[in-house]
C-alpha cells in the first residue's frame, strides 16, 4: 500500500486528531470538535472511530474490529481490512490478543486491560440532542451543566411506562461533571465503563467530535433513587454456548417462528463452545471479576 501514507491518513490530519484526542482525555466526557476527513467509507459507517484508530495505531499493534459484538459482519471486515492493510498491523478476533479494538455498539465480554485501547464508533455524540435540537443551546447547557431537561426526559418515561426505557445511548455522568453518550452500547455494557483499566476513546465522524473516558474514572448512569439503573436480563442462556452472563441477541426462525437467544460477542461465544467441547482455550475474566 505504498501509494498511501502509513495509516492511510496524511500526517497533518493525524496531528490534529492527536492534539484533539489529548484534549479529550484531559477533559473527560467533553466533546472536542475536529475536522473530520472524507474517508473511503460513508459517514455514519464508523468514520470517526476509524480516524481515531488510524491516528494512534502503529507497527506492533494487534487490531480487532467488532460490529455489534461480531468480528464477521461486513462493516467490521471492511474496516479491519482497511486499517490492517494501510498500517501493516496484525489482526485478531481474540479480545485478549488485541492491543487496539475498534467497536460499533458493544464492549467485549472479556475484561480489557491497561495495555489495551477501545475505540468506539459514535453516530450521535450529543446526548442532549433528544431534548434540545440546537447545537448552540446544547453547548451552553453542557457549559452550565444545565441537565434538568434530560432528567425530565427520564422522569417522563417513568410516568408513562413505569421505567426508564432508554435501551442504548444511555446517558452517563463522567467524572462527576459532564453527561455524555457512551455510544449506542446496550445498558448491559454501561457499568463496564466505570473505573475500568482501559482507555475509552469515542469518535463521531459525521458529527465531527472526539471524546474520551480515561481509565479509573467514575461513570455513573443517570437514575433515580426509587428507579435505579438496571441492565438487561434474560430468561434463558445462549443457544450455542449456554452462557447466562453475557449480552444476548434475539433471533427468529422464519419457518417455525421459534425464538432463540445468541451471544452478541461471537468471539467469546466461540471460546465458550470450545470450552464446552473440552478443547484448550484461554478465556479472560468478566468485567465484574
Amino acid at each position: 500500500m505504498s501509494m498511501y501514507n502509513y495509516g492511510f491518513l496524511d500526517e497533518n490530519t493525524k496531528r490534529e486528531l492527536r492534539r484533539k484526542t489529548l484534549k479529550a482525555v484531559a477533559i473527560p466526557g467533553y466533546q472536542v470538535p475536529f475536522g473530520s476527513r472524507e474517508m473511503p467509507v460513508a459517514r455514519g459507517w464508523g468514520t470517526g472511530g476509524l480516524q481515531v484508530t488510524l491516528s494512534l495505531i502503529g507497527l506492533g499493534d494487534v487490531l480487532k474490529v467488532i460490529d455489534q459484538g461480531s468480528d464477521d459482519s461486513v462493516n467490521a471486515c471492511n474496516l479491519r481490512d482497511l486499517i490492517s492493510e494501510t498500517s501493516e498491523v496484525d489482526t485478531t478476533t481474540d479480545t485478549l490478543e488485541a492491543t487496539v479494538i475498534q467497536t460499533r455498539h458493544r464492549i467485549p465480554e472479556e475484561k480489557m486491560t491497561d495495555e489495551q485501547i477501545l475505540v468506539f464508533q459514535v453516530p450521535t455524540p450529543e446526548i442532549l440532542r433528544t431534548v434540545e435540537p440546537s447545537e448552540q443551546e446544547s453547548r451552553r447547557m453542557h457549559a452550565e451543566r444545565d441537565y434538568s431537561r434530560l432528567w425530565v426526559h427520564l422522569y417522563e418515561d417513568i410516568v408513562e411506562w413505569k421505567e426508564i426505557r432508554i435501551s442504548y445511548d444511555y446517558p452517563v455522568l463522567v467524572n462527576g461533571h459532564y453527561i455524555c453518550d457512551p455510544s449506542p452500547i446496550p445498558r448491559f455494557d454501561v457499568p463496564k465503563l466505570h473505573q475500568a483499566e482501559t482507555l475509552f476513546l469515542f469518535g463521531a465522524g459525521r458529527e465531527k467530535r472526539i471524546y474520551a473516558i480515561p481509565p479509573h474514572t467514575d461513570v455513573i448512569p443517570l437514575q433515580f433513587e426509587d428507579y435505579p439503573f438496571n441492565v438487561e436480563s434474560y430468561e434463558s442462556g445462549c443457544e450455542k454456548c449456554g452462557s447466562t452472563h453475557t449480552y444476548l441477541e434475539e433471533s427468529f426462525d422464519s419457518n417455525t417462528g421459534e425464538r432463540y437467544l445468541y451471544c452478541s460477542d461471537t468471539s467469546y461465544c466461540g471460546k465458550q463452545q470450545l470450552k464446552g467441547q473440552h478443547q484448550p482455550v484461554e478465556i479472560g475474566v468478566g468485567w465484574n471479576g
Binding site: 496531528r15 494512534l56 481509565p215
Partner: protein, 197 residues
C-alpha cells in the same frame, strides 16, 4: 527527503504520541521517549523537539519562554507552526530556569474548554520515588486511588500554578513534563495535585 527517512519519522511520531496518550490517560505515570536526532539544536532539546514535531503544525501556534528564543526558528522550520504571544499560544514551551506568568495562558472558555494552552515544560528529573525536590500526590481520572510523583528542577512559581490548575475544571492548562533523560509525564487539568511536605 527520501521515503525511508520520512517513514522513520512517521513511526517515531506515532510511538511518541502513544506515550503521550498513555501518560495523559494515566496522570503521574512515566513514559520513556526516544530522542529526536536533529543536529542543528543542542542535545538538551532533543525530546522537546520530538514532542513539538508530533503535535505542532501550521494550524496551531507556540510560544517559547526563553529570552533568546533559540528553538523558535528551528521549530518554525520543522513544523511550520507560527509563534504568538503567551496569552494567545496553543503550546507554550517552558525552558528550564524560566518562570513565565502562566496566569496569562489561555484556559479555554466554558463553551470551548478545549481551546486552551498545553504547557510543554522541561524539568531536570521526573521519577516515582520519594527523592525529588518536589513530591506531589495526584488524584483524579486515570488514577486508581492516588499516585505519587517526584520532580527536580521545577520552579516554585510554576509549581504554585500547577497546584491551582484543577481548581477551575473544565477550564485549565494541560501539562506535559519532560526531563533530561527523556522521561515524560502528563498532568491534565482533571488531576488534583497536592504537594507533600
Amino acid at each position: 527527503m527520501n521515503t525511508s527517512i520520512l517513514n522513520a519519522r512517521i513511526h517515531y511520531m506515532q510511538r511518541l504520541y502513544r506515550s503521550l496518550l498513555d501518560t495523559m490517560a494515566r496522570p503521574g505515570s512515566i513514559e520513556q521517549l526516544e530522542p529526536y536526532v536533529y543536529q542543528a539544536c543542542p542535545s538538551e532539546f532533543q525530546y522537546v523537539i520530538g514532542i513539538a514535531i508530533t503535535l505542532l503544525d501550521q494550524e496551531v501556534s507556540f510560544y517559547e519562554t526563553s529570552i533568546s528564543k533559540e528553538l523558535t526558528p528551528h521549530l518554525q522550520l520543522l513544523t511550520r507552526s507560527t509563534t504568538k504571544s503567551l496569552h494567545e499560544s496553543d503550546y507554550i514551551l517552558v525552558h528550564k530556569g524560566t518562570a513565565p506568568d502562566l496566569m496569562e495562558a489561555k484556559r479555554g472558555t466554558d463553551l470551548y474548554p478545549d481551546q486552551s494552552a498545553t504547557i510543554i515544560i522541561q524539568v531536570s528529573r521526573i521519577s516515582d520515588d520519594q527523592e525529588g525536590e518536589v513530591r506531589l500526590k495526584l488524584r483524579g481520572p486515570g488514577i486508581k486511588s492516588e499516585q505519587m510523583l517526584s520532580l527536580d528542577g521545577l520552579n516554585r512559581e510554576l509549581l504554585s500554578e500547577l497546584l491551582l490548575n484543577s481548581g477551575r475544571f473544565p477550564l485549565g492548562l494541560d501539562w506535559i513534563l519532560v526531563d533530561d533523560e527523556g522521561r515524560v509525564c502528563c498532568l491534565p487539568r482533571s488531576t488534583k495535585i497536592v504537594e507533600e511536605a
